[in-house]
Amino acid sequence: MLNYIWLFLIVAAICVAVGRDVSEETSGRFRNNEWVALHDAPGAMKVAGPNHFSGTSFLTKSEIARFYSADEAKAIKGDSVFFATDIVQSQADPRTGTLTLTLPANVPPVLSDAAAASGDPTKIVGRTAFDTATFANGGNLKFLPPTVHFRILAKVADEGILKIANTAVELAIGLIGVMALWLGIMKIAEAAGLVLLLSKIVKPVMVRVFPDVPPDHPAIGAMVMNMTANFLGLSNAATPLGLKAMEELNKLNPVAGTATNAMCMFLTINTTALTLVPATVIAIRLTLGSANPTDIIMPTFLATFVSLIVGIIFTRAIERFFPVREAKGEAV
């Protein structure tokens, strides 16, 4: 099942990225290698230093609609979009230079996408050609934005693959400390017989939900501790205790590498996340000025409770349709 989901996520991502990129290329969305005529009002560009000018330039809405497309112009409020503009004059040819546009909030999406593709979502840097003499009287600046090709694929490679791969490792490394702490505490609790005691208390419920697990097995104690931590919203403790429970469940696993019924049931209980107080949601509602931030507790709790019960019944009902099979070529 997870194989198919994983495959779907990756294939869908690549297909969508290539599809969007190809459609942008064929429709010429970014008008690559075409000059844009920026306007500057009289006196809007000032000398800011040797070979350096700065000020404001603008494009009108109808020009953007004509040059790019009517859809791109929709984001603009008012008649024109204004950019803080910075020009560094070329030493070799004083009529050319490098122009930096700082994008305002109501910028057409084509420009913000082009800026994001070149690294900084707030700025576009490109070539320019102009006549310094006309700055004082206002006029036109010719601007050549950087070309944009296959930006979605580039984004998938950068944000989706390289950065996330690092994030995954950081998450795992970040777990080491709490893992060690809770595994240590669990070991003490086991040695003191507390885990066994806990398993005995919850025995009547657990034998029904986990019929394959012996009622006095340490897995029961670890699972109950994990559920308690989740219920109290102690997510820091819940994950290590949950992993400990999985290890205990794995000791009862006859086929290494394949999930047992008990593991799947435990996962279902964990993903339904029965929590006493959804603290994050309440905190956000409070900051957004809710009249009674905590009134969300009741629907949340009931929704989770129903999904927990239904989830347990469903998991039990479908387990027979997913029989444990030996993988080909693997030793038992």
């Binding site: 099942m1 997870l2 990756i10 869908a12 991502a13 969508v16 979605i152 998938v156 693959i161 996330i164 995954a168 490792v169 998450l171 795992a172 080491i176 893992m179 060690a180 702490l181 595994l183 240590g184 505490i185 070991k187 003490i188 086991e190 040695a191 507390l194 109290l232 919203g233 102690l234 403790a237 994950t239 290590p240 949950g242 999985m246 999930a259 593991m263 435990f266 996962l267 279902t268 964990n270 993903t271 339904t272 996340a273 107080v277 959804p278 603290a279 949601v281 956000i284 509602r285 009249a291 905590t294 009134d295 969300i296 949340t300 129903v306 999904s307 989830g311 469903f314 479908i318 349709f321």
Partner: protein
């Protein structure tokens, strides 16, 4: 003003960890367990367990990251929203319904957006809150929990997780309608 119930649960969740640790160590010491030795013995598995989940986490998060970065996730949610709309599920909530299975930080951002746009006490804001509170990032849990014990063939776990999640979604809408008419 906080209700006493909230105040109590707040204190409980702050004090719970130190109290649990203290109680366990105390009882163990009374029962003549060599607490320090046992702790170190157990804790040394912390490193290997955390490291063992890396391949699973990388595999899962990269697939999800690609799916989001390509815009495929937005397309999926807009593709199925006519269907869910016909069933009475607000289409504005569809992206959140999908993201909450995949990414914790992503869904938090989406929920905040919905609450800002519609107001935290609106129907939309309340359903978004209930959806978020009744969620766990299913695929993250699958990767981490099964990764820790090197389980690759997960059988019905994903299906069961998604199913109970859909139940929680539907219940969120129904319950908010029922409790806040």
């Amino acid at each position: 003003m906080e209700s006493p119930f909230i105040a109590i649960t707040k204190i409980l969740s702050t004090a719970a960890i130190p109290l649990i640790v203290f109680a366990i160590v105390l009882v163990a010491a009374i029962r003549k367990v060599k607490v320090y030795e046992e702790f170190v013995e157990g804790a040394k598995d912390g490193f290997t367990t955390a490291i063992r989940i890396i391949p699973y986490l990388v595999a899962m998060l990269v697939a999800i990251g690609m799916f989001r970065a390509s815009g495929a996730m937005d397309m999926l949610s807009s593709a199925i929203s006519p269907v869910t709309n016909a069933l009475g599920f607000p289409s504005e909530l569809m992206p959140l319904a999908i993201v909450r299975n995949l990414s914790g930080s992503g869904s938090l951002g989406l929920m905040t957006d919905i609450m800002k746009t519609h107001g935290p006490d609106s129907f939309m804001g309340r359903v978004a809150g209930a959806m978020m509170g009744s969620h766990e990032t299913t695929f993250y849990v699958l990767a981490v929990y099964f990764g820790a014990v090197n389980i690759r063939r997960t059988r019905h776990a994903a299906l069961a997780g998604i199913f109970s999640d859909v139940v929680a979604l539907i219940m969120s809408v129904i319950l908010v309608k029922w409790l806040f008419p």
